[in-house]
Amino acid sequence: MFLTDEEKRILDGEKGEIAQRCMQFLVAYGEAAGAERLVDLDGTVDMHPGPSWVPEYDVKPQEVAELARKGERFKVPTFSDKATAPSFVMDGWEHCGVLPSSDPEFHRKCLENLKPYMDMGMVPTFSCDHYLVSTYWPSVGQHCAWVESSAIPWVNAILGARSNFDGCFQTAYLGKVPAYDMHITENRAATVLVSCEAELKTDMDYDLFGWVVGEMLGLKVPAFVGIGRPTTTQLVKMNSALNTAGQVRMYHIPGLTPEAPTLEAAFQGKKPAETVSITRQDLRRVYEMMNYGSSDDVDFVYLGCPHYNIEEIRKVADLIEGKKCKVRLWVMTNHPTYKIADLAGYREKIEEAGGLLLSGTCPGLLMGKVMPPSDYPDVVAMDATKQDYYITGHCHPHKVQVRYGTTEDCVNAAITGKWQGEWR
């Protein structure tokens, strides 16, 4: 891989041992990925604070603290994805009933470990959808290093900035990433024309559509026609599913996304290599697959994958106001949205009904251990294909059943303890 003189000097240790180790990581990563060079970031970084991708090159929290004390800062605006410290819950931890999350000393210690990253400039959004609350976005064409399934299509497709799934301490500290895959213009062209013949109406429809396309296309880049004008909630759900069922990290919606003013522009002037159409029957097939299990006796309801936005929380607060939950209900969001939901009174409405508003984690990160004292739930209700499809793995070898449906179906299950959702 080609390195500039400055990059070679960092690799030779001229900027210190930590910078050298970070450069060694970027070079090893770039060579393994087949990149020809590094590119300077001019956009943003989204990183999981904590251990990095490859332990061999890890920079320990004490080393990060030392850098921060010396006045070193991340090279570009850097935001926090969920903290990967096991069991860390940012808000609502006092009531969550799960240990060690609800232990004050544990919580204090987690925040203490996160402080060095914040001292270097990491903004504590603590979220899988930091992009909804970061107050700062990269511009079209800027090079970024993000992480997270739903976030990667957001940065590439929705914002038109350029990122692979490689946000981490090293990329934020050096402000560089290997220039390959999504950083290269021609790799961003659509090759598959996806014509949606199913009328997408509900938020769930977009979640299912994303799964169908992701599973069908894998690493390919599609252009969508016939998907209407999705809302923010619908885009986030669709992106999450696209990049979970497959690796659709870039797509185009002609007339809507920045790199596709026209259908021709989406394909960068070339002809589609493939054309596929998606029908309501395809969505139904995934709906049935997501309803993994037959018991209607739900014991845990989880909402907030990806972390709920304020509109979704408001909807739940409205649905549940004046009712009482029969089973455990968690509504998960990010730290800034938690604060707004608190101010707006939504948190109080959810908690008065016996549910919990939390921030900064998810059942997946908690490894499915959400039901003390038995740890694992038996029948979970969810409105997100991503968490649905992972939770059985996270609880393995405990057998968990999953019921999947709309947000309304899930809230109803929390109130009645029964799953009553069905395909409509």
Partner: protein, 145 residues
């Protein structure tokens, strides 16, 4: 496709160098990490997956593509439990497979001249020379009937 001595040669790009050999374990369905890989036991726990709970320890793990979250690196983390494959071969990858391969640190190749999941079948004997960009496949007679 087979020549007289039942050997097939595939050419591809080195991701992680080295030489390894072993019996192939092939997945025509993408692999998914995070909760759906059990690094400790060295197998996938994705529901309904053809390789559900099939150990890949010591095998030449051949698959189509990665999918899902950055937790795909869980395949690499098998290294910490000694349950990792002998080699890692895939049709097409991205940063997910690269990070997993770096942590796993076994001979890894991709971008082949032919789809490895079409040429190689579970049970074939495979010699991977990632340094030279060559994979030699010796067909299991059982796979030729």
């Amino acid at each position: 496709m087979n020549n007289v001595d039942n050997k097939i040669i595939l050419r591809g790009r080195k991701v992680i160098g080295g030489v390894a050999r072993g019996e192939a374990l092939v997945s025509k369905k993408p692999l998914m990490g995070w909760g759906n890989v059990d690094s400790k036991n060295g197998y996938t726990v994705e529901r309904g997956h053809p390789l559900y709970e099939v150990p890949y320890k010591g095998k030449v793990l051949v698959f189509t593509e990665p999918r899902g979250s950055g937790g795909f690196v869980g395949y690499g983390r098998s290294r910490f439990f000694g349950t990792h494959p002998a080699a890692f071969l895939y049709r097409k990858g991205n940063n997910l497979t690269v990070f997993a391969a770096m942590v796993m640190n076994v001979p890894t190749m991709t971008d082949f001249d032919r789809d490895p999941t079409e040429v190689i079948e579970t049970g074939d004997y495979v010699i991977v020379n990632a340094d030279e960009g060559i994979v030699e496949v010796i067909k299991n007679p059982r796979n030729q009937q």
